[in-house]
Amino acid sequence: MAAGKEYDYRQEAKRDAAQMALHFLDEIVEQLKEKGTASDRLYHDYENGDEALDRYRQGGYSLHEAADVIEQLAEYEVDDEGLWQGLSPREAISVMAAETYANAVFELWRDLIDRINMAVGDNLDRFTVGPKEWSPHKKDSKLTEFVKYKIQSELAES
């Protein structure tokens, strides 16, 4: 994490969301093959989804860094007072920043899953996905490559 006012935490959160999608690439593709859409329920439908998100819940932000994270990612701000009860203002802001950043990664990951589902839906004839139509013998690798391409496009943009 870079210190300073110029650091773009939104871009970093987008990159981390794409990295998390790459981490779950096989599961996303499996779900697309089986149901036609991938789930955005990270905690329930992905193996160790909570642990994957924990990687992006880093503490130890300085007051300046925490202020930047919270200002830049205000729309993802976490407001659960139980998380910082009894902490000093500096510690509380640092925890709030860490939770806000993780929440941003989570929400941006959900957005990405949504875009993948829409893109696959728009290209059904190329992949033949869904519970009834899917054939394990054809077009399997094509779907994986397509989803991977969508995720990597996100990484390239961020």
């Binding site: 006012k5 007051l63 300046h64 925490a66 202020a67 930047d68 919270i70 200002e71 830049q72 407001d79 007072e81 910082w84 000093s88 203002p89 500096r90 509380a92 802001i93 925890v95 709030m96």
Partner: protein
């Protein structure tokens, strides 16, 4: 996000000078009667406590402003958790910044009063309960104190 380039040290110093200007008559009266002025802004000046709180403490800061202020004025940082108990982090940091700024102004005010007392003593003004004479010196005590404040 808006940058905050405020020099809070300078602002605190300027506010301390403004406070001394505001209480100039009382400072001069104290020197005339006791030989020195008090540095206890909240207790020894008329409505000093409310003046200090309303003018220097009772402010709210955005998160980025509060973080800059707390960095710049770290030696004056307020550490009484009772002042922000139960507040959300944003409000708590803002409150800590506000009290920290108040501490900084108070500290500068004390430093300024000490300087005024030292300079008055050096200049041998005929002040104090026994020595004060109504005969006017070349430069009035009030003018002299005012000059010390301006140069602080």
């Amino acid at each position: 996000m808006a940058k905050d380039d405020t020099d809070y040290l300078r602002e605190a110093r300027d506010d301390a000078k403004s406070a001394a200007q505001y209480f100039l008559d009382e400072i001069v009266e104290a020197i005339e009667s006791d030989g020195k002025a008090s540095d206890d802004l909240t207790n020894d000046y008329s409505d000093g406590d409310s003046y200090h709180h309303e003018t220097h403490v009772d402010r709210s800061y955005k998160l980025i402003e509060a973080s800059n202020l707390l960095d710049q004025l770290s030696r004056y940082e307020e550490g009484d958790p009772g002042l922000w108990q139960g507040m959300a982090p944003r409000e708590a940091v803002s409150a800590q910044a506000a009290y920290t700024y108040g501490n900084a102004v108070y500290s500068y005010f004390r430093g300024l009063i000490e300087e005024i007392n030292d300079k008055v003593a050096e200049e041998n003004f005929d002040v104090g309960p026994k020595d004060w004479s109504p005969l006017k010196p070349k430069v009035s005590l009030k003018e002299f104190v005012n000059k010390v404040i301006a140069e602080f």
